[in-house]
Subunit: 245 residues, 2 copies
Amino acid sequence: MAQDDSIITAALLVIGDEILSGRTKDKNIGTIAEHLTAIGIRLREVRVVADVEDEIVAAVNELRARSTYLFTTGGIGPTHDDITADAIAKAFGVSIDVDPRALALLQPHYEKRGMTLTPPRLRMARIPDGAELIANSVSIAPGFMIGNVIVMAGVPLVMQAMLTAVTARLKTGRKMHSMSLGVDRPEGDIAETFSAHQAAFPNVSMGSYPSFGDGRFRTELVLRSTDEIELQTAFEQLKLKLSQL
Amino acid sequence: MAQDDSIITAALLVIGDEILSGRTKDKNIGTIAEHLTAIGIRLREVRVVADVEDEIVAAVNELRARSTYLFTTGGIGPTHDDITADAIAKAFGVSIDVDPRALALLQPHYEKRGMTLTPPRLRMARIPDGAELIANSVSIAPGFMIGNVIVMAGVPLVMQAMLTAVTARLKTGRKMHSMSLGVDRPEGDIAETFSAHQAAFPNVSMGSYPSFGDGRFRTELVLRSTDEIELQTAFEQLKLKLSQL
């Protein structure tokens, strides 16, 4: 994981009818967002699209041009609704076929378990030309990286294994640090102070997140910056200002 | 909620740095997806963007042109990072100011609680010109609907109250029905049968969702169609075919 000082950005494309119908509640967006923040990559946008080739191709080509990396989840299994690998090949204008490296992973895996390498399972060895495989320590069938696009499974455990596996290959930038301060007051009570504080520290990004519970208001103030010293200063001054309200 | 036979579609725009940083795990996408499916509106795409006005405006204008409705969540609170209402006004090219209807809701609410209607709280009464309010039974500050765009809060409880409140005003189409069949086999074992079955029923959309747990494979097959009779037929025939494997 090479460190450098420029800003490294990412987009995420979640592929799957099941998320849009509400049948499956996505858990990958939060996991990926947290992981990328931790390693110094800024997630700038997320999209969820259906299992429709044209929509996947259009989103892939739009998003990969705009960020350092594009991550995708979903649609790389053995069934007919798994069309991501073909859509990625189409987006890059490259061919796709059974990849000997992927086959070499799948064949012994199934043999050992007395399972047949059916044509659908063979589909999971189809990898666009020019892609590098991403290891899957959970269920073997690999993800892949082509250009700046990282293609991962949708099943959360498998996605996490692939995200871990690919991390060492990613360029990362300056880490965004954050500090947060919980206040037992409604947002409206502290918003003026907070807004003035944001104006005083334009390089620290400040957000306010209210919640309600047990009949009480609570507000969490989150400060974020790549500069730890400035962040610390802004945090301490905010605490002081709020204590004087 | 007027029923008609055409297809009614929706897009969802989730607005907020906190989702992209991973600090907050979104819960609204799943809730909204499930609700729209239940009332006969098809969610076609979801986007998550940061608290950046230009990005919100661009996404709003792109998405509202493509679907019957666009729902947004987040960014309508009292603090400086709440910029959704202004971005929506900009997207529609209309003015925005304190709305007497919204003020009439907020004023007695805060008075009754001995809270001051601070300038930040007054911000929550800023509504784009031409919008209709959406009631908020949780914390009063309203959402709004302008054209085909429905603007809701990000706090899940408040979002749910607004979604419930706006539902009666929405045009809905034919409901997508679904039936699902759990199979204690890995996807690869049944994929050929399933794929042939999809080909035999092109009007029924079929998806396969694998999971792993306790060292066992499980696959859930989900069939969806607006035609309940065709759905039932496809479901029964699939059960029969799988029992013969």
